[in-house]
């Protein structure tokens, strides 16, 4: 008698790397997060084969949502070809049988670090943002249980005070990435370190956004058609980065969020940060038949 004789032949019982009970917990927490927009839900963050701080939160959400019918896109600061994005993408397709893409239009799930794609996302797409620090109150309240109570009471005076202090000290609002925003008029969330440029894209968006922090074990969501309002005073308007007038030196695209590439002569070139949008523009220029979707910004201005 051998051990093999006693056991059934090995068969996949799950896919997407995580076991079924881990995925069930994450699904429940995601449903809760959708039910209470912007409210942070704690979850038992599992081990995944990348280091904490490299997108483990996003990865767990993606692994849970993924099935062989999905097409997944992974971006790191807008780029599909960074080492981190490529590794995560390869991992995801291998463990789930899902297809992968660089094209925002083709993707059903988009896992992203620090950017929202420039092409308008649809109702059938889900954006998963990797979050390092989910707690917007941390700078004003280091005690996390007090912070939770402040969220429960919608006690955001100190948050607004931070804004006041920045304007008094520096003459302008200093929040850059991760601009604190009020979700559905109730919870203040940090939209992960996306630039100010990307925050308005979350407001009344057609797509679902799930934000997940693996190290901090929290996830939260912005459901479709939900208000996301950056905290601003009535008389000090919200300003996005001044990229509207910049032109991408490779693709010729203009009016999108750009990466700055410093040059030896002290000047700088600019390259469109949503790298595949740039690639599509170049291919179109070469006469290829590639589709580009409508974009949130037109000529550097956010549409209504």
């Amino acid at each position: 008698m051998s051990l093999t004789g006693l056991t059934r032949p090995w068969k996949d019982f799950s896919y997407g790397f995580l076991d079924a009970s881990a995925k069930r917990e994450l699904r429940r927490k995601m449903l809760k997060a959708v039910a209470v927009p912007g409210c942070q839900m704690p979850y038992a963050s599992r081990e995944v084969p990348i280091a904490r701080g490299w997108g483990t939160g996003g990865l767990q959400v993606t692994c849970t949502l993924l099935n062989p019918g999905h097409t997944v896109k992974v971006i790191d600061q807008g780029a599909d070809d960074s080492v981190n994005a490529a590794s995560i993408r390869r991992f995801l397709t291998r463990v789930s049988g899902a297809r992968s893409t660089w094209d925002t239009l083709e993707a059903s799930l988009i896992q992203s670090r620090h950017r929202v794609p420039e092409e308008i996302l649809r109702e059938d797409q889900i954006l998963i943002l990797q979050v390092p620090n989910p707690e917007p109150l941390r700078p004003v309240e280091p005690n996390m249980s007090v912070a939770r109570q402040m969220h429960a009471d919608a006690d955001y005076g100190r948050m607004w005070l931070q804004l006041y202090e920045q304007i008094v000290r520096s003459g302008r609002v200093m929040f850059g990435a991760a601009y604190p925003s009020l979700v559905h008029g109730r919870y203040v969330m940090t939209p992960s370190p996306i630039p100010r440029w990307d925050v308005p894209k979350l407001n009344m968006a057609r797509h679902l956004t799930i934000l997940s922090a693996g190290r901090e074990k929290r996830l939260y969501a912005v459901p479709p058609y939900t208000r996301v309002e950056p905290l601003v005073f009535d008389d000090v308007p919200y300003k996005v980065e001044e990229h509207g007038h910049l032109t991408c030196y490779r693709s010729g695209l203009k009016g999108f969020f750009m990466n700055e590439i410093p040059q030896e002569d002290g000047g700088a070139l600019h390259e469109v940060s949503d790298s595949h949008l740039g690639i599509k523009a170049i291919r179109q220029g070469d006469g290829e038949d590639v589709a580009t979707g409508d974009t949130w910004y037109t000529n550097g201005e956010m549409g209504q």
Binding site: D155, W160, L161, Y164, E165, V168, F233, D235
Partner: protein, 265 residues
């Protein structure tokens, strides 16, 4: 205003604040034992008593910072019915932020020491929902000016200010929303005598100009005598005597009060 006009006012008006049967223990320590008080609109109630007699604890209850083991608390304001000790945490916090102002002896307790002074005042306005930066600046400036704080320093953090100035920032913060009652817990203790006199002057002027209802706690009879219309004497968590200021100081009835007054004179 003459006494002849003042006395009937005290007699006729409804009290603004009524606390009754307030008790609080901390383990074996009885900090408050069945304490009651009434405060009338526009008057200044002084609370004196030796250290540890429960004065600060009583003030914290008035500020709804802490809840007693027993007792009731009502404020005669349009939108605040019932026993305030029974409000939920959220309602208590809103009431405390918008209708009650407090100045603590220790400015660290009342101020964010590293934020700007104007910001400390503006926070109150922000809690009340003000979202216009220009209005925040203006109103914070007004409150600081009313507290006789030098406006060229309005953006300095309290940590860089003198003790007297820190108390003025606390005062500005406390009056920014024109509260129904202003609570002062030893506001001048620990200040130099000359500074103390200036801060008391400011308080007196505010009281005269705005008729703010105040409760002032001190172990210093001199401070109470300058400020208070009525005095409550506390000892070991109980009220041993209360009455009009002049009456208490000239004709103290309780042995403890007599001791206090004579020690002072």
């Amino acid at each position: 205003m003459t006494l002849a006009l003042d006395a009937p006012r005290l007699v006729q008006t409804q009290p603004l604040m009524v606390l009754s049967g307030v008790s609080k223990r901390y383990g074996p320590v009885v900090a408050l034992d069945d304490v009651s008080a009434e405060v009338y609109p526009g008057e200044v109630l002084g609370i004196v008593g030796e250290s540890g007699s429960g004065k600060s604890t009583f003030l914290r209850m008035m500020n709804l910072e802490e809840l007693p083991d027993a007792g009731t608390y009502t404020l005669d304001l349009p939108d605040t019915p019932g026993n305030l000790f029974e409000l939920d945490r959220f309602a208590r916090r809103m009431l405390c932020a918008t209708r009650i102002g407090i100045v603590y002896q220790n400015p660290h307790q009342g101020l964010l020491m590293r934020n700007s002074s104007s910001g400390n005042v503006a926070e109150r306005l922000l809690i009340a929902g003000e979202r216009r930066f220009a209005v925040l600046r203006e109103k914070a400036g007004d409150a600081l000016a009313a507290s006789e704080f030098p406006l060229d320093r309005m953006d300095a953090p309290p940590i860089e200010l003198s003790g007297g100035m820190q108390q003025r920032v606390q005062l500005a913060k406390a009056i920014a929303l024109e509260p129904a009652v202003l609570l002062l817990d030893e506001p001048t203790t620990g200040l130099d005598v000359s500074v103390q006199a200036l801060v008391l002057d400011t308080l007196k002027r505010l009281q005269r100009d705005r008729r703010i209802t105040m409760v002032i706690v001190s172990h210093d009879l001199g401070v109470i005598r300058t400020m208070a219309d009525r005095v409550m004497v506390m000892r070991r968590g109980q009220v041993v005597e209360q009455g009009l200021s002049d009456q208490i100081f000239q004709d103290p009835q309780h042995a403890y009060t007599q001791q206090l007054v004579h020690a002072k004179l």
